[in-house]
């Protein structure tokens, strides 16, 4: 697709040639994830998480379709259909449900690592801005899907999650409350809300899959980035996706599936909340209500506004939460540094890790009961989050002096492992390897 030396698809079997002339689907697959897609030869393991995320999307779709065969989208029956029918009666239903529950968490884990990879290595920069933005669209769709899926078991956390999240819309003046009532089809979550959430929860994963195809398509126009951020110059810089990266992704997916299986079998409820095993009660909110872990940082931003300032605190919180994601769409223009990879940007690198710590702290602040201390940490971290993207990042890209880039990908690789991992220019070769040989 992207480079002139990409291996063309040459079907050998007459049947495949016959098919290729009529429906060149194998040709597209070959060019996308086969031997016909040249990939930089120096990708490190942070590049494995896109493939992993795609696999978890597939797991979610398969287990979800199967669970929908047994689920009742009724306010009376939903809780029992999940907790009695699926968990106890349906053959292997407990496994499928736990796989789906934890699959969502692992999907988010993979996607978060994938996003931070992009942030560190400047994957959002030209010519891959649209790849980045489509990725954010996928992320937003995932959040909507995960939220609606969490409502379906109709436990206490489901119910009050639906109440709180649709409550975001009531923050907007005048139109807010009518929009909330329209979204719910009532004044509080009930049958109408549950049925439409189920319908959309079934639909959105297929929309995600479609946007994933656009994401990969847009990626394959310039080709994959790489840890040096240096453009591919010739054939020596690349390897065909198959068999090199299919093998690497393949074994790595096996490793992650192992961790996923350990959690699913031995700690299936570790990432969930016990209160969701209490049936929904419209008259009592659980004492400690928090969203699923993957929403914690945003939840912290939401509740970091505790006072009215021109606008009501409630509206500020909602606006801040939405804009914390929306501002990422402008990232390619906020960070104007021509150097992509954080490995060659000493100042950027430090602030990147500070951002990681900030977001972890935000997650801690959003994941617990609101105490004054926790709120204060949440407020500081929320302020820093915006400061990072809106002030620090543009300043760094204006004033930072990046390290010298390698002349080519091959050049960086052939320095040997040490120079590749710590690319601070050519270092004097230590005699360590030589002595090893002598010994």
């Amino acid at each position: 697709m992207s480079f002139s030396w990409a291996r063309p698809y040459e079907p050998k079997h007459p049947l495949m040639r016959w098919l290729d002339e009529r429906l060149p689907l194998p040709r597209i697959v070959y060019g996308a994830v086969g031997g016909g897609y040249p990939v930089p030869r120096n990708l490190n393991y942070w590049w494995n998480f896109g493939f992993t995320a795609a696999m978890f999307l597939a797991i979610q779709i398969v287990t979800g379709i199967v669970l929908a065969m047994h689920y009742y989208a009724t306010a009376d029956g939903a809780f029992n259909s999940v907790n009695q029918l699926i968990m106890r009666d349906v053959n292997a239903g407990w496994l499928l449900r736990y796989a789906h529950m934890n699959g969502a968490s692992f999907f988010f884990i993979a996607v978060y690592i994938h996003i931070f990879r992009g942030l560190y290595y400047g994957s959002y920069k030209a010519p891959r801005e649209l790849v980045w933005m489509l990725g954010l669209v996928i992320y937003l769709l995932m959040m909507a899907t995960a939220f609606m899926g969490y409502v379906l078991p109709w436990g206490q956390m489901s119910y009050w999650g639906a109440q709180v999240i649709t409550g975001f819309f009531s923050a907007f003046p005048v139109v807010g409350e009518p929009i909330r009532v329209w979204l719910l089809g009532g004044y509080a979550p009930d049958q109408a809300a549950l049925t439409r959430f189920f319908s959309l929860h079934y639909l959105l994963p297929f929309v995600i899959a479609a946007v994933v195809i656009l994401h990969i398509w847009a990626l394959h126009i310039p080709g994959s980035g790489n840890p040096t951020g240096v453009d591919v110059k010739d054939e020596r810089d690349t390897l065909p996706f198959h068999p090199f990266y299919t093998a690497k992704d393949g074994w790595f997916v096996g490793l992650l599936l192992l961790i996923y299986a350990i959690v699913t079998f031995f700690a299936p409820n570790y990432l969930g909340h016990a209160d969701n095993y209490i049936p929904a009660n419209p008259l009592a909110t659980p004492a400690e209500i928090v969203p699923e872990w993957y929403f914690w940082p945003f939840y912290a931003i939401l509740r970091s506004f505790t006072f009215d300032f021109i606008l009501p605190a409630k509206l500020w919180g909602v606006l801040a939460m939405f804009s914390s994601i929306l501002l990422l769409f402008f990232l390619p223009w906020l960070d104007k540094s021509p150097v992509r990879s954080g490995s060659y940007r000493p100042v950027f690198k430090r602030f990147f890790w500070l951002l990681v710590i900030d977001i972890v702290l935000l997650g801690w602040a959003g994941g617990g009961a609101p105490t004054p201390f926790r709120n204060a940490i949440g407020q500081i971290c929320a302020a820093y989050y915006f400061l990072h993207f809106l002030v620090i990042l543009p300043l760094i890209s204006a004033f930072e002096t990046p390290l010298p880039l390698p002349r080519s990908i091959t050049d960086s690789v052939l320095h040997g492992e040490e120079a590749e991992s710590a690319p601070a220019g050519p270092k004097p070769r230590r005699t360590k390897t030589a002595t090893a040989v002598v010994e």
Partner: protein, 193 residues
């Protein structure tokens, strides 16, 4: 990566000479392992469609036959399917026994289709053996067909007083379920006896 390339064309250190290369062996082993895992994963996805234990637990139904008078027929529900219970009249028994068994499509005598000493109680699954419709003839005033048994309205299969197929497309007689008389007036359908 560089070694991967050079290994393809050479027969140097990591090759086993003329035999199977180490890399090929690892490749086949890894892919086979993944394949076995993938097939094993299909298990739960397939068995989730099978009837669950609570559905299988509905496999017996008790029917009270004390109120069924001679000549009367009733329907009961067993595994979400109708069961016909017919209290046969002596005339119906005589009609059923008058037919030479060998002339039937699905040769069975009335006594083979009833319990010993209880020949007047015919209990069959009320599902036509052609394509699963419920034959008429159990309810009061329904069409019993020319043989005085049951008549399937879907494709015109005709059953006699022993619920044996006599004419029409159905291949077999109405099935006799496993059942036993748990008391003189109670039948448990689904229980072997």
């Amino acid at each position: 990566m560089a070694t991967a390339r050079s290994a393809e064309g050479s027969t140097s250190s990591d090759s086993g000479g003329e035999g199977v290369r180490r890399r090929d062996f690892l490749n086949v082993a890894a892919v086979s392992f993944a394949g076995v895992g993938a097939v094993a994963t299909l298990g739960p996805l397939i068995v989730q469609m099978s009837p669950s234990q609570d559905v299988l637990a509905m496999a017996t139904t008790e029917i009270d036959i004390s109120k069924v008078e001679v000549g009367q027929r009733i329907k009961a529900l067993w595994r979400k399917q109708p069961v016909f219970v017919a209290h046969l009249t002596p005339k119906e028994i005589a009609e059923a026994n008058a037919v030479p068994v060998s002339s039937l499509r699905d040769p069975q005598s009335l006594s083979e289709r009833t319990k010993p000493g209880k020949e007047n109680w015919l209990i069959v699954v009320g599902v036509c053996t052609h394509l699963g419709c419920i034959p008429l003839g159990t309810g009061e005033g329904e069409n019993k067909g020319p043989y005085g048994g049951w008549f399937c309205p879907c494709h015109g299969s005709q059953y006699d007083t022993a619920a044996r197929i006599r004419q029409g497309p159905a291949p077999r007689n109405l099935a006799v379920p496993d059942y036993q008389f748990t008391s003189p007036t109670t039948v448990t359908v689904g229980a072997k006896g």
